[in-house]
Amino acid sequence: MDNSSVPQQTIDTITENNNRWHRVSPLAILYYIEKLFVILLNNIFYMLPALFVLWDKIQANPWIAASIIGVLLSIITFFSIWSFVVFRYRLSEGTVEVKSGIFSKKHVNLPFNRIQNVKIEQPFYYRIFNFSSMAFDSGGSLNQEARLIALPLSFAKTLQIEINEYKSNSTNTVSSFDVNNEYQLDSDNSTAPSDEVVENTRSIGDLILHGITSNRLYILLAALAPFVDDIFSFAGEKLEGMGIDIQAHLDNDPAWQIGVWAISLLLLVIGLMTLLSIIGAIIMFYGYTLSRTHDKYIRRSGLITKHEVSVPLSRIQIALMKQDLLDIVFGRINLRLDQLNAQISSMNAGGNDTSKLLVPSVFAYECRDIIEHVFPSHNLHNTDFMAISKRFIIRYVSFIVIPITGVLSYSSYYNEGLSPMVPIAVFFVLAVLVYGRWLRWGYQINETYLYIQKGLLGRDKYCLPITKIQKITFSQSYFMEQNKLASLKIYLASGSYHIPMIDQDHAKTIYDYVLYKVESEAKAWM
């Protein structure tokens, strides 16, 4: 592959001598290595407890461990090279075709005028060589996304312009059969001078605050809780090895001194975790700008890998104002504008936050203004939510809290070690949590929007445009029927949203109104 000469070539010459399958630069191997590494690291995270348990064995046989790692690395390299070897692309007659995949072969054929969005990414290992990877988004399912990895940056930029020109030229010839009006708007836009304005930027201070508030420390602590004993005995042994005898200190030192130690240890851990979280936030959101054209939001950010996501306003399905406990304290909000399958893609680990339209740690008024462009005259920021039925508390207490307490009391009765205080304490804590959850639940509807609020310590507010709803479920259990209550589940292209245990008549009214609105207006949801 003649990397050096490619940038000089114009696309025309490439599209002329096309109908030939091209390989990309061998730098693509780096891309595959990175991708496999990310998958591996994500899985290692789940294996950490197992690693922890097996730590002694690993220490006893370091060579075996090292060779396992070696084998893993060579497997990764092998598959990366193989993936690169089978990767082919072709540009011809206004389509981009990509063949890839080792075990499951994939052949994507994407006409230029179907391309909704061209994304150019530059991971750090490409920046050195001035390379980039391109992702073409067709607006359909995730499987239809084509990606050209490892192209010279100048080539990628020319191709991007080429695609936009092709689209605007062909607009006239495209028959009305071509479903999306929206796409035509799109291509009109690409020829018109860009009307891009910067809507929002985030300073380093904002990002530090975001790092502090989005800290997942308590989740980590909860995950570690089952191993507390192991960790302490492990740490104890280590310290003993260093000549510090914890047990002796515990026995001899005054209680306040031990307390001070424990607190400072805790603070140290919290500090470290917060620091990590801040670093993570800065890496992901450095140089954050959210800009807006007349029909698109574009998000750019990233310290090491620069990401650019652009989303047509019409593709946004819901607005979500997310606040963790600390966000509420600082009065900040994380705003998310979800598009298709947002809930599914957030379950798949890896790069989820980078592809989302997310605005970290903004103030309520900024939030309101950003949402306003997508969902005009919404009222998400100061809606009076209606409470759900108090029977919600009764249901969760009697079907979840009481059984748990029952099992605990049973075992404390037969098991000397467990104090009878434990089930009582567990009961009260869980009951308070259920109450808190009830307190947060709320819903409200007006002519165009359905608002939902939920949370426990934090608070999430959803704004669902009624005309974009895909389907709706009205459900009732036997007990709910007796008490004239019902639940609603609302499906949008981004995922499903739940309103539990509200008045039956009100639920029915919402159900009927949603169907009436969706069916009578039949507006495009995308």
Partner: protein, 178 residues
């Protein structure tokens, strides 16, 4: 919209009813699914007993007793579940209106799932080997989003499934989308 919006139930008696009403599935459907699950579990049970009783690697007496007890317990529970499932399948139903299609299901938790026709992406009539044997079909309706929740009406007579499918395809919104 210039035309008046109506959403009456199709194929009933042309009276305009607001709420969807339940049409039951084909009569044999609940029986057939129940028979299939009984056969499946019976075969599994027989296999377990065969493994237990085979003469080549004799299982010790105590282990055999425990296993037989477990199998007995499990069959009672499975029997009850199958009975429950029979009534649950019996309770399922559907309703096709001009503008939407509704699925009723659930015995303890009653669900009414409504899919507006203008939001349908595509629609399939599916028939497994058993369905073909007894002349039934399933209707799968797909919309955007949550793939885990497919909208499926089982146990329709083949003609019914095909006519619902054709009605949906003939809907003007569906023709719009091509």
């Amino acid at each position: 919209m210039s035309t008046v919006f109506t959403n009456s139930i199709l194929n009933v008696d042309h009276s305009k009813i607001e709420s969807p009403t339940k049409t039951h599935l084909a009569d044999c459907y609940a029986m057939v699914t129940t028979a299939v699950s009984i056969t499946f579990w019976a075969v599994l049970l027989m296999l377990a007993l065969c493994v237990l009783m085979q003469p080549f690697w004799p299982v010790p007496q105590s282990g055999r007793d425990i296993t037989i007890n477990i199998i007995m317990g499990a069959s009672i529970i499975i029997g009850l579940l199958i009975l429950f499932k029979y009534f649950a399948e019996k309770a399922k139903g559907y309703c096709v209106r001009e503008q939407d299609i509704t699925l009723f299901k659930g015995l303890i938790f009653k669900n009414i799932i409504t899919q507006p026709i203008c939001r349908i992406q595509h629609i399939e009539v599916k028939r497994g080997p058993i369905d073909r044997k007894v002349g039934l079909a399933k209707l799968h309706v797909y919309s955007a989003g949550d793939i885990s929740q497919t909208f499926e009406i089982p146990g329709l007579a083949l003609e019914t499934a095909n006519s619902i499918r054709n009605q949906i395809l003939a809907h003007k919104e569906m023709q719009h989308h091509g």
